[in-house]
Amino acid sequence: MIIGILAVIAIGTLSNAFEKAYKIYAKQDLKNFISYEEANYQTDYKFINFTETIQNNGDSSEHTYGFTLSRGVIISAEGNPDDPYNSDTPFTVTSTHNKIPIKYAYNFVTGEWTETEK
């Protein structure tokens, strides 16, 4: 009985810890990606233009854009990469992990972080 209760608590804690780890992955990769885009803006005055979603499914840790994502993290973007700070077409990047139910978004114009359900 006691061992059963302990096992349930342990499984719950472990499940929470996994979810937290995946959230940290998604958040940290998004931060890294923001820095990566900002660095590009410093040199080229525009962001890297990508239309597809970039993700690491575990088969490769290196992406074609030269940016390394954590395993399971998916990043997508919206807006005009040539004019990312235009408030009419703000550049927004979204990050999530395939094992968590939420996604993080960052708006380059407002500098706001949002956390929403998938």
Partner: protein
């Protein structure tokens, strides 16, 4: 041609309640061991992930956690399966002889000393079974010896005819001899109730 005997999983549970009790208890203890092991190994990473204010430390802790837990959990699950399988086999090798002992003891209680214990090659409790088999042989020998001695007593009493002149003493003696014969006969009947191994 005789078909080779294939042991089914249900045949591994000879004494279901006893074996399931052992299996359940060992699994529960193993789960406890797993929880303690995982707790000790993963706690520092979980603590950093949940309570650190530095995102870099949180990220590193998350990386370590995923990496360690990703290897630890499958290996512990494999171990759990191995422990379970091992427990089934071990309890089977103990319960097989125990069931054998149980039937032999029942027969011994009924006076039958003929049921020897034969164990399979990989069964446990072989020294104990040897002692029980030796006891059966020894008991059989004792009973056969007592039976033989009783027959000898009967024969000796039958042939024993001393010359006694005094009629009273002779009568007393004949009565004593008759009692002795009856006792010997009763003892022989009682001993014949036992089933013994052939010498």
């Amino acid at each position: 041609m005789q078909k080779p005997y294939k042991r089914k999983l249900k045949n591994f549970l000879i004494n279901r309640s006893f074996q399931l009790n052992i299996l359940l208890n060992s699994l529960l203890y193993f789960v406890l061991v797993v929880m303690i092991t995982m707790g000790i190994i993963l706690y520092p990473m979980i603590q950093d992930m949940f309570f650190s204010t530095d995102p870099e430390i949180q990220y590193r802790a998350a990386q370590s956690f995923i990496s360690v837990a990703g290897r630890l959990i499958p290996s512990l699950l494999i171990l759990l399966v191995l422990v379970f399988t091992h427990q089934v086999i071990v309890s089977h090798r103990i319960c097989g002889p125990l069931v054998n002992f149980f039937h032999t003891f029942n027969r011994m209680a009924a006076g039958d000393f003929t049921r020897m214990i034969f164990l399979r090659e990989k069964d446990y409790l072989k020294p104990e079974s040897r002692i029980i088999n030796d006891t059966l042989k020894q008991m059989s020998r004792f009973i056969q010896q007592i039976t033989s001695d009783t027959v000898q007593i009967e024969l000796s009493v039958d042939t024993f005819r001393p010359e006694i002149d005094d009629p009273d003493i002779r009568k007393q003696f004949e009565s004593f001899i008759s009692d002795l014969k009856n006792q010997a006969s009763k003892l022989k009947t009682d001993l014949s109730e036992f089933k013994t191994l052939d010498s």
